[in-house]
């Protein structure tokens, strides 16, 4: 890698923080300067936890005109994941799709329509075979040959299989694409399931969530396009950097949980105080996601618990749309509470009832023993009746 030329010490706070300076002499045309571009990439990389070097490498790649092609498929879904992606600011969707990636097919965002759009898809697949990123949004119906979701006369199964075949990376965004989501909830009339279940044998990065946190997608896409690698995944195909921990472990209300301060019902005094929502049915202790540290759309507290509603476990197949909203779940990794046992903690003890029962039993045994010995004595020696035994009893 070429060594960057030495820069003089930053002359102003603007330069230090890389803030834009509004001076009339600066080029304000639509053309994105390299500097602006690097800035966008740096922000994006920082936001999703990639290193500065990754940003530099990406800038280099894009400067050569190599923008990674992204094909985005929509199936059974509400477009919520796309909507949440549209609301990110670092980078904003404009920078993302115009500067960072080449979004070649996206049913919500493309300008083309009908056959033109389908032709764009075919063209993109042909041009970038083996290199493009296939992003799947929405569940795939499998019942009755997959006839419940068709685009341009083709079933979702056909489309996803074809596009995934030559993809460099496959990413399932949202719970629907990851494991079925809402469409797969009981009774699941269309046999909806996730992309990993349809694309058996392929590595599918899943970014579950309802909607998925857009930064988890950005981080994964940016890592793939800059470093050519995929993040480390857990057994459900989720990037460990985003889904390695439970909500509970990073919850801002955790202190209340540890201290035993719980909201008992919606709107009560404890709820207003911002106490822990566990008893209202929070699934945070079993939900693996990073919402508690990476809120949505850069709006502070824009995530369920931040707004006072219990986590409903949207990233977890076993929880979302299966466990009732206000049912509580077990704690996955229990830790000690905010209280301490004393040095000599009284433990156990004998209750009055137990002592009474034991006393009665002992008394009965004693009595029986006495009675028995008396019987024995009266039966005892045939030669000298009662002599010795009567002496003993007295």
């Amino acid at each position: 890698m070429p060594v960057p030329s030495r820069r003089p010490f930053p002359s102003s706070i603007h330069e230090t923080l890389m803030l834009p300076r509004f001076s009339p002499d600066q080029d304000s045309g639509p053309e994105v300067s390299r500097r602006d571009f690097v800035r966008v990439v740096m922000t994006a990389a920082a936001a999703v936890g990639l290193s500065g070097t990754a940003a530099a490498r990406m800038a280099e790649a894009v400067a050569k005109g190599v923008k990674p092609s992204v094909i985005w498929l929509h199936f059974q879904e509400c477009t919520g994941c796309t909507e949440s992606l549209l609301r990110t600011a670092h980078p904003d969707i404009g920078s993302l799709i115009l500067d960072l990636i080449s979004l070649d097919y996206h049913e919500t965002l493309f300008a083309a329509a009908g056959h033109q759009a389908e032709a764009a898809l075919q063209q993109a697949m042909k041009d970038n075979a083996g290199k493009y990123v296939c992003i799947v949004e929405g569940a795939i119906p499998t019942k009755d040959g997959g006839i419940y979701c068709k685009i341009g006369g083709r079933t979702a199964i056909d489309m996803v299989t074809e596009v995934a075949e030559q993809a460099g990376a496959i990413i399932a965004i949202g719970s629907c694409a990851s494991w079925g989501g809402v469409p797969s909830a009981d009774p699941n009339p269309t046999g909806a399931t996730g992309a990993p279940m349809v694309l058996k044998g392929k590595t599918v990065v899943t970014i579950p969530g309802c909607p998925a946190n857009p930064y988890n997608l950005l981080g994964t896409v940016l890592q793939f396009v800059t470093l050519g690698t995929l993040p480390e995944l857990d057994d459900k195909g989720r990037p460990k950097w985003a889904y390695g921990r439970t909500i509970h472990e990073h919850c801002p209300r955790r202190a209340h949980f540890d201290a035993g301060r719980f909201a008992q019902q919606f709107g009560d005094e404890n709820h207003r105080q911002g106490y822990c929502l566990y008893k209202l049915g929070c699934k945070g202790p079993q939900t693996h996601a990073n919402c508690s540290v990476m809120h949505f759309g850069e709006v502070v507290d824009a995530w369920p618990i931040g707004l006072g509603h219990p986590c409903f476990g949207c990233t977890e197949q076993k929880l979302a749309f299966r466990v009732a909203l206000h049912d509580t779940v077990d704690i996955e990794r229990p830790t000690p509470p905010d209280t301490y046992p004393g040095i000599r903690e009284p433990q156990g003890g004998v209750s009055t009832v137990a002592a009474g029962i034991a006393g009665l039993a002992a008394g009965a045994l004693l009595g029986a023993g006495y009675k028995f010995s008396k019987t024995l004595a009266s039966e005892a020696p045939p030669t000298k009746p009662s002599g010795g035994s009567s002496k003993k009893e007295v």
Partner: protein, 315 residues
């Protein structure tokens, strides 16, 4: 069949004499034990502990123990060491005086549990000095629980095939890792040492060789006059020496570290036992007295007691 009273007494007297004769070269009292030169241990300092209980969590995870639930099944909330807890932080509070206390196995230099263990299930490692537990020899007698002066060994009462549960200094994590000197202490690579020490955010509990820890404890006492109770390292000599050492700013007995002298519990037990049988005097005296009592009763009771009656007839 027809063994006369005289004969019985003769035999008893004879055996006693032989036993006494055997016991005459009295065995030297059991020598006090010393820690192995490379004994590992821990040093806990109450003045540094902030009671975060990270060690309690880390211990449970490192040892793959089920949580000791509170009533609501929300927290791992052990009240004491138990069948699911090898390490617990307790709080001593009396007026303004307070201190945290970390309870776990003390890894005694002369462990009472290993001494009481009938099959050697509990065993003191010759090199590290760790008091180890091998469940394959354990019969579940729980003598170790009775023997331990620190009330450490615990039993899995709720299990069908219960074992003894106690801290083994995370020896299962050592693997093949080698000790290397780090900042004056012998340490394993991160992830291989005792979990509680590795996770402690304030270094309130550290591990290393016992000699190094003892030196460090004395350095702290010297550097902070008046800070530590009696300027004493608990475990240096207490209970015959322990490999887990304590520095405290409150009296040791307040944080359940009893003053039990400088002799190991087994040492005391052996001394008593050997004293009892020394020269076989005590048993002979006891049986002599018992014999006299029998003789006296026999003469007094005569034909009254049925047992004596029978014997009398035969004689």
């Amino acid at each position: 069949m027809a063994v006369g009273r005289r004969k019985v007494l003769q035999v008893i007297a004879g055996t006693g004499a032989i036993a006494a004769a055997n016991a005459v070269p009295v065995r030297a009292a059991r020598a006090a034990k010393a820690a192995p030169p490379d004994a590992l241990g821990m040093l806990y300092d109450t003045t540094l502990c902030i009671g975060c209980k990270a060690c309690v969590s880390a211990c449970r995870e490192a040892n793959d123990l089920q949580p000791s639930w509170d009533e609501e099944r929300l927290h791992h909330a052990p009240l004491d060491l138990n069948g699911r807890t090898k390490n617990v932080i307790k709080l001593y509070k009396e007026g303004d005086r307070m201190s945290f206390f970390k309870a776990q196995c003390m890894h005694c230099v002369d462990p009472a549990c290993a001494s009481a263990c009938m099959l050697g299930s509990l065993h003191k490692d010759e090199v590290t000095g760790i008091v180890t537990y091998d469940a394959s020899y354990c019969v579940g007698c729980r003598y170790c629980m009775m023997a331990c002066p620190f009330n450490v060994a615990k039993f899995e009462y709720e299990k069908r095939a219960p074992k003894i549960v106690k801290c083994e200094l995370c020896r299962h994590r050592f693997g093949g890792a080698q000790l290397a000197s780090t900042g004056g202490f012998s340490r394993f690579a991160t992830g291989h040492g005792p979990a509680c020490c590795e996770v402690c955010p304030r270094g309130a509990v550290i591990y290393g060789k016992r000699t190094e820890l003892l030196q460090e404890a004395k350095r702290r006492i010297e550097a902070n006059p008046g800070r530590y109770y009696q300027d004493k390292v608990y475990g240096e000599a207490d209970a015959g020496g322990t490999q887990v050492l304590y520095l405290s700013h409150v009296p040791f007995d307040k944080i359940s570290l009893p003053d039990i002298g400088s002799q190991g519990v087994p040492h005391v037990a052996y001394t008593i036992q050997e004293g009892l049988y020394r020269g076989f005097v005590a048993p002979v005296a006891l049986y002599g007295v018992l014999g006299l009592v029998m003789l006296r009763n026999r003469k007094k009771g005569g034909a009254a007691a049925p047992e004596a009656q029978k014997g009398g007839r035969r004689e």
